[in-house]
């Protein structure tokens, strides 16, 4: 029985438009097993999960669950058939009580059709007791911590008689203690014979709770192993597609070494704290250099960048610009001081989809482009045309809506949005994510050229090669703290990986 897989997915193909998301991917889960599913962004793990719980339909491949062909039309069908998904953003209703959240959609009723609150309340209590959680189940779910909410979601799943529970980045918003409570729950599930697919970027957690690991890269399953057989470094190497022994080959990116020594310090960040994610981040950037900011997902890279830019309030620490302490309450202020920021989420936080290339490019520049509130259109056109030619933006005309452009060209427009401001410091969060190879190289070259022209660049990237080859210096964040700093000479994928996985603050 133990050798008969509970779930077996084979040869799964899925493409969105022209881009393949899954290419012959496979995943096996044994009954009562906790399987880690890891991979970089875009490796295909979330598509795999969506195929499994019926969110999207796969193009090819077979799925067997409990020995029978599996075809769920939607997450709720999957849930009723025994596979429940706990999403990253918990899909429960915070305003409603814990009891309701467990029983919504299959309430216990008497013959006349009225709700049996007492019975539901007792049943909910008993259910949560099994997980060692004693809470007031009649209070609104939103009153409890994210961890408890997640536990309630799991309890709901189990009460649906789930045989397989998928946890997608469940721990990303939990603190250490909450993670421990969640792990206790997972172990209990295991005892009950329920299998778990556990998706997380935090490697330590995988070792704490998982039995086996499936690693995905570029839509393929690249490794399946028992957690005991693979150490952290091997895991990271497999995930990134690097052979540990492989000598780093030059030229994987279009970055070249810096042309001249860096100038004066532009930005200094000391002991920055932001919300829960960033506890103690420090870094600095000088003119004419590219500074890399590395770390696993959830290490607080983006939060650090947003706090520097004034997009989120900082909880503590100091930020100095050209030596002077600054406090930005709105991005507006940071921009006025010569900082630009390219968000990692181009769609949600970058482009204004309905507006033209011209409008998008000059959005930040508008106040400077105008005389008494009137946009100087001649100058605007000249600037836009210059940048379109300069950095090779491919569009039918400056008036084409930006949503019609490819990802790489959209990114170039956003880059131009800051370049035309003539800034002193540019922050890039994943500048080449979701961009095709050609455009990627162009953008990397451009970033180097900007630094050589004297701009300070802070670059966040999940792609180690980008950091190793692109950055003149690199700061590594782990769990919200700066754990190490590398010069260009010291930085290699191995040392970075080591710091990202094990590093502790000095």
């Amino acid at each position: 029985m133990a050798n008969e897989p509970l779930l077996s997915m084979h040869g799964i193909d899925k493409r969105f438009g022209l881009a393949p998301a899954l290419v012959g991917a496979h995943l096996d889960v044994l009954p009562g097993e906790v399987m880690a599913l890891i991979g970089q962004n875009g490796a295909g793990k979330s598509t795999m999960i969506k195929v499994l719980n019926g969110f999207v339909k796969h193009d090819a491949g077979t799925i067997q669950f409990e020995g029978k062909p599996w075809a769920a039309a939607s997450p709720e069908v999957a849930q009723r058939a025994g596979i429940s998904t706990i999403f990253q953003e918990i899909n429960l209703i915070p305003f409603r009580s814990v009891v309701e959240n467990i029983y919504l959609g299959r309430e216990i009723r008497n013959r006349a059709g009225f709700l049996r609150w007492r019975q539901m309340t007792i049943a909910a209590k008993t259910l949560l007791d099994e997980f060692g959680i004693a809470i007031d189940v009649e209070a609104p779910l939103g009153h409890y911590s994210t961890a408890i909410q997640q536990m309630v979601a799991i309890a709901r799943a189990v009460s649906f008689n789930a045989r397989l529970v998928i946890m997608d980045e469940s721990t990303s918003s939990l603190d250490d203690h909450e993670v421990q409570v969640l792990f206790a729950t997972i172990r209990r599930l295991k005892q009950q014979g329920v299998a778990v697919i556990f998706v997380s970027h935090k490697l330590d957690e995988l070792y704490a709770v998982c039995d086996r690991v499936t690693v995905m890269r570029d839509g393929r399953t690249v490794a399946v192993a028992s957690m005991a057989e693979m150490n952290k470094l091997q895991l990271v190497a497999t995930m990134l597609g690097r052979d540990l022994a492989e000598v780093r080959k030059q030229g994987a990116t279009a970055f070249s070494a810096s042309a001249r020594p860096p100038g004066a310090e532009v930005l200094a960040v000391e002991n920055l704290a932001v919300g829960r994610r960033v506890t103690n981040a420090s870094l600095n950037v000088r003119r004419g250099e590219i500074v890399g900011l590395a770390g696993l997902l959830g290490s607080g890279r983006t939060e650090t960048a947003r706090a520097i830019f004034g997009a989120d309030a900082r909880g503590g620490g100091e930020i100095r610009l050209n030596g002077k302490p600054v406090t930005f309450t709105e991005p507006h202020d940071a921009i006025a001081s010569g900082i630009g920021f390219c968000s990692e989420d181009r769609k949600q936080e970058g482009i204004i989809p309905g507006m033209s290339v011209r409008e998008n490019m000059t959005l930040a520049l508008l106040p400077a482009l105008s005389r008494s509130g009137l946009v100087d259109e001649a100058r605007q056109r000249k600037i836009v045309e210059r940048f379109i030619a300069d950095i090779g933006i491919k569009c039918s005309s400056p008036d084409q809506p930006i949503r019609e452009l490819s990802g790489g060209n959209q990114q170039k427009v956003l880059l131009a949005r800051w370049l035309c401001m003539n800034p002193e410091l540019l922050i890039f969060d994943e500048p080449t994510r979701g961009i095709d190879v050609g455009a990627k190289a162009e953008i990397q070259k451009l970033i180097r050229r900007l630094a050589d022209d004297g701009l300070g660049v802070l670059m966040i990237s999940s792609e180690l090669e980008e950091i190793v080859e692109g950055a003149d210096r690199t700061f590594v964040l782990r769990d919200g703290r700066t754990v190490s700093t590398f010069d260009r000479a010291e930085a290699s994928e191995a040392t970075l990986m080591d710091a990202m996985a094990h590093g502790t603050a000095a």
């Binding site: 968000s343 204004i352 989809p353 409008e359 106040p367 452009l405 490819s406 990802g407």
Partner: protein
């Protein structure tokens, strides 16, 4: 299944690269889009042709004047409403702000409340002060929406209720009858045979259309409605932009209130601007401004108001009762918004 999978793999290698130059030019899509953008205009043209064919005495200056004066206040309020909706908001208080401005004005231009020494100074006060007061109330709306993050619909509901009360308290609910031809010229005077209020309306429409197109504020306003987080990260002062659109909406309502009292030779706080918020929203929706924000056409709002008015006029002129015209208006609104939805899908 297996056949599928092999073909997928075969083409998988190159598919990641997108063709240079972005998305392939979607000519058909563009034409469709243009047709829909012009849809309102075409509908208007059809209505006019239809009327020329079936409605007696349609092609007269009087018909034009009647129809245009019917929509003047709706369009002026609609201009402000278009801008508010373009940022993703809504303003229910416009009718009440019209009442406030209309109730305030007679005290000034008749010199009863405050005498500036000269008739024209009084009229100046009678125009500027009520409009400014309406603008201040608009600022209050904007403050609730931007600083307290109260949903626009509920934030402006407060002044919808209280605003008319303020106007009624101010006048004690009494009808203020007056005769001030110099003031009433703003509604009743004619220039080139066209009522002066129509000129005012056109000035508002053109000014707002020009502002949307040419000024920093106009672009920022559309950016806020199009993608608020992105606009904020690009340095757009989101709160200030939001406050300002509600102020503008208040100012527009103030002017509309003055036109109403000038037309009636009387100010009745109980009636000025009653229900105008819904007429204005209907005109905006039919005119093609996205109700979810990010795209706005002030000229469209004018056309929308004209279409609604012309449908009503056509029905009335051909013996259909006014009440039935309301039902036609309802169908028109649903149809227009449904077409907008299809466009986004």
């Amino acid at each position: 299944m297996s056949l599928d999978s092999s073909t997928t793999v075969a083409t998988g290698g190159t598919a990641g690269l997108r063709p240079p130059g972005g998305a392939p030019p979607a000519t058909g899509f563009r034409i469709g889009l243009a047709a829909r953008r012009l849809g309102a205009l075409i509908a208007l043209a059809v209505l006019i042709l239809l009327n020329l064919a079936i409605t007696p005495h349609f092609a007269t200056m009087q018909t034009l004047s009647v129809n245009l004066t019917q929509i003047c206040t709706i369009v002026i309020v609609g201009v402000g409403m278009t801008l508010v909706i373009a940022t993703g908001g809504i303003d229910l208080s416009v009718g009440s702000l019209m009442a406030i401005s209309g109730a305030l004005a007679p005290g000034f231009f008749t010199g009863a409340l405050f005498h500036g020494g000269n008739l024209y100074v009084n009229i100046g006060f009678g125009i500027v002060i009520p409009v400014m007061v309406a603008g201040l109330f608009g600022l209050f709306n904007g403050w609730l929406v931007s600083s307290f993050r109260i949903q626009p619909i509920i934030a402006t509901l407060i002044l919808f209720i209280a605003g008319r009360g303020i106007a009624q308290v101010w006048t004690n609910g009494d009808l203020q009858v007056f005769k001030a031809p110099e003031f009433q010229a703003i509604a009743l005077g004619h220039v080139l045979g066209v009522p002066f209020q129509v000129w005012i309306m056109l000035v508002f429409v053109i000014a707002a259309a020009w502002m949307l197109r040419k000024t920093v504020f106009g672009r920022q306003l559309l950016a806020v409605g199009g993608n608020e987080p992105a606009a904020r990260l690009a340095g757009v002062p989101v709160k200030r932009v939001k406050r300002l659109v509600y102020v503008i909406s208040g100012l527009c309502s103030g002017v509309a209130g003055l036109i109403v009292i000038a037309m009636n030779s009387a100010a009745d706080a109980n009636l000025i601007g009653m229900g105008v918020e819904l007429d204005a929203i209907a005109a905006v929706a039919v005119g093609g401004t996205l109700l979810s924000g990010g795209r706005a056409t002030v000229v469209g709002t004018l056309i929308g108001a004209l279409i609604i008015q012309l449908v009503r006029y056509t029905l009335l002129a051909n013996g259909v009762p006014d009440a039935a015209a309301l039902i036609a208006k309802a169908a028109l609104i649903v149809l227009a918004v449904w077409l907008q939805r299809q466009e986004r899908a």
